[in-house]
């Protein structure tokens, strides 16, 4: 099965689509404001005519490419192409401004490659045993795991945890209309025939991810016009021997990125922040961080690329997306009749191994593409928003329309786009919304099955220690920030009284 998977990933068609995905991912990732999630959502309708393997490999390529492409604009414009490159701006941009842009890009590209490859190895070694373990868990455990994932996503999302949870619940609610899977009841269809199937995944994703982002970009246009690009040709890439002193940082940051990626809901931006912070703690020269230090770029880029591989572990083995972008990958798999989860290794082992191999190949392709075309990419990042927004919107309309040949889906996309824009204005994170939307249906199905088995008693969870531990983690994640906030308020009051 492993050999078959490798051969599938190495076939000419598969390599072609992985290359197309990686190249387009790198380009889109490099353009500030356009992310991998946006491109993946846009590419989804185009994959309908493709084989499931090629479709998934294209999307994996986009995912890997976009995370890496962000480092170009982060380094040359001080504008992270993707949120995961935020930490790269701290040292990449000062290094470039100090006359070493090639060095900053070289460090970033090399670290991205190593982080990605190490996470790919972790994926290959951890996914099979985890899927065997996952086979032993039942509906209680799965429902509790999804609940934990939702709380975790909300708790770690940027801004307030309450808003994160609000967003996750709103996402679950958006998935409610239509036919309830468990008993075939129609809910919230408002007598609109198109609503009987509920809101389709693609229009919702395009709306929340792309349309809201486009509207934000229009608002940011003035800011973006002020950005100045740093000219290339001032320095050279770091020499191979120089990498020796970064081995520890690379291994540690890749491990952090992979581990953080495995945790449901924690995106690549968090992993690069954690890796950056730890690299600074372990560094002999922590005061150089933020001024154009090699170690900062290495930590950030190794971790954010490793996160992609780490996040694929729960996606493949449990069917739980690690981050919103993985939710799109999950949606694509479901659309192509591939059900991620514990049985995937048994039912579609060749595809899983092909995915793992393609992930590794995509990382190598990403490195080669970026090394070979970073000069051209540095020009692409300056495409004005006034051309990008209308063009991307037209493709969104085509994408939404094409899934069912009906304008209803286009209206749904627009509606969710406006909702996403308003939520963003209210500083409500959108990641939990998408994960809530994707996980609502399996959560309800598993919970109802579990309750059927226990005659409707929630207390039956006591007989399921694994499920109980997942719920305990969820409760802890919810309560801990509240307690921390309460104690900080109390200490502030005491300080006030003391003064």
């Amino acid at each position: 099965m492993i050999i078959d998977g490798l051969l599938s990933a190495l076939s000419l068609g598969a390599l072609f689509w992985t290359l197309v995905g990686t190249a387009s991912g790198v380009i889109v990732g490099a353009i500030p404001g356009l992310g991998g999630g946006m491109l993946m959502a846009l590419a989804l309708p185009l994959t309908f005519a493709m084989s499931p393997l090629n479709a998934i490999l294209l999307l994996i390529g986009i995912h890997v490419g976009s995370v890496s492409g962000g480092l170009i604009s982060a380094t040359l414009l001080k504008m992270p192409g993707t949120p995961s490159s935020v930490m790269t701006t701290f040292d990449g941009f000062p290094m470039a401004r100090n006359g070493a842009p090639e060095r900053a890009l070289g460090l970033g590209m090399g670290s991205s490659l190593i982080g990605g490859l190490l996470a790919g190895l972790a994926l290959a070694f951890l996914a099979p045993p985890l899927s065997v373990w996952a086979l032993k868990i039942g509906p209680w455990e799965l429902a509790a795991l999804i609940l934990m994932a939702l709380v975790l996503v909300a708790a770690i999302a940027q801004g307030s945890m309450i808003k994160g949870l609000f967003s996750a619940v709103l996402g679950v609610i958006a998935a409610l209309p239509g036919l309830a899977e468990s008993d075939g009841q129609l809910r919230y269809t408002f007598d609109i025939p198109e609503m009987s199937a509920g809101f389709r995944l693609l229009p919702v994703l395009l709306g929340v991810f792309v349309i809201s982002q486009l509207l934000q970009e229009v608002e940011r246009t003035r800011l973006k016009d002020k950005a100045q690009r740093i000219a290339l040709g001032q320095s050279s890439f770091p020499k191979l021997t120089e990498w020796r002193r970064h081995i520890g940082n690379l291994l540690r940051s890749s491990a952090i990125g992979t581990f953080v990626g495995i945790l449901p809901g924690v995106g690549a931006s968090i992993s690069s922040m954690v890796a950056y912070g730890i690299a600074r703690t372990f560094s002999r020269t922590p005061n150089k961080f933020g001024t154009g230090h090699d170690e900062g770029v290495v930590a950030s880029e190794a971790a954010n690329n490793a996160n992609v591989g780490g996040a694929m572990i729960p996606l493949i083995t449990l069917g739980i997306p690690g981050a919103p972008v993985d939710a799109i990958l999950l949606g694509a798999m479901i659309m192509h009749k591939i059900q991620p989860g514990p049985l995937l290794f048994t039912t579609n082992g060749t595809l899983v191994w092909a995915m793992i191999a393609a992930y590794l190949i995509a990382n190598v392709m990403m490195f080669a593409l970026m090394i070979g075309s970073y000069r051209q990419l540095s020009k692409i990042i300056s495409i004005p928003t006034h051309y990008l927004v209308p063009i991307v919107f037209v493709f969104c309309v085509i994408g939404s329309f094409s899934i069912g040949n009906r304008l209803f889906d286009v209206w749904v996309m627009m509606g969710f786009g406006v909702l996403g824009f308003v939520l963003n204005k209210a500083k409500v994170p959108l990641g939990p919304f998408v994960i809530g939307f994707v996980l609502a249906s399996p959560f309800e199905a598993e919970l109802r099955t579990a309750l059927q088995l226990s005659d409707g008693s929630l207390l039956a969870i006591i007989d399921h220690p694994i499920a109980l531990s997942f719920v305990a983690v969820a409760v802890l994640m919810f309560v801990a920030p509240l307690l921390r906030r309460k104690s900080s308020l109390e200490s502030n009051e005491q300080k006030g009284e003391g003064a």
Binding site: I162, F166, D183, H386, P390, V394
Partner: protein
């Protein structure tokens, strides 16, 4: 000092109360469970209660985020940009035109020609906008209908 609720929390509260109460109202019309103990109304009801509670929680929590002297919250929402609102209206109009029976090509041509100068805040972009609009409208229509076999809205 009088503490004012910030706009972000008001949006969350309004959305939470509207969606939550709507869900609770709609749950009454869902058939009671037949063969499972929970039924299809349980999750919507639970979500509605959670949403309302979270919206209220956020509304009350904002006061602790406010600056003690100025009463200004860090979650204050910036005003809506006129250009963004115009672009959103153009997007809606574009879909509306197709809904009214205008074909993909004509609607796309109109939308792109209008949107580029508006977003770029310059009517000098109109010439380039016409070229891009024509390429996109006729090129995309040809590409999707001939290569990808995707039907686009027709007149």
């Amino acid at each position: 000092m009088i503490r004012k609720p910030d706009t972000a929390s008001l949006i969350v509260l309004a959305l939470g109360l509207t969606v939550g109460s709507g869900l609770l109202y709609g749950a009454q019309f869902i058939q009671p469970p037949i063969f499972d103990p929970v039924g299809s109304a349980a999750l919507p009801q639970a979500c509605a209660v959670a949403l309302i509670a979270l919206a209220l929680g956020e509304f009350l929590a904002q006061f602790s985020k406010q600056h003690p002297d100025t009463g200004v919250s860090k979650d204050t929402v910036e005003g809506f940009d006129l250009i963004t609102a115009t672009v959103a209206i153009l997007m809606i109009a574009y879909i509306g035109l197709m809904q009214l029976g205008l074909g993909f090509e004509a609607a796309t041509l109109s939308f792109v020609m209008a949107a580029i100068p508006v977003i770029g805040r310059s009517f000098r972009l109109l010439a380039i906008a016409v070229i891009i609009a024509a390429l996109l409208a006729f090129g995309a229509a040809w590409l999707f209908s001939t290569i990808f076999f995707v039907d686009l809205p027709k007149i």
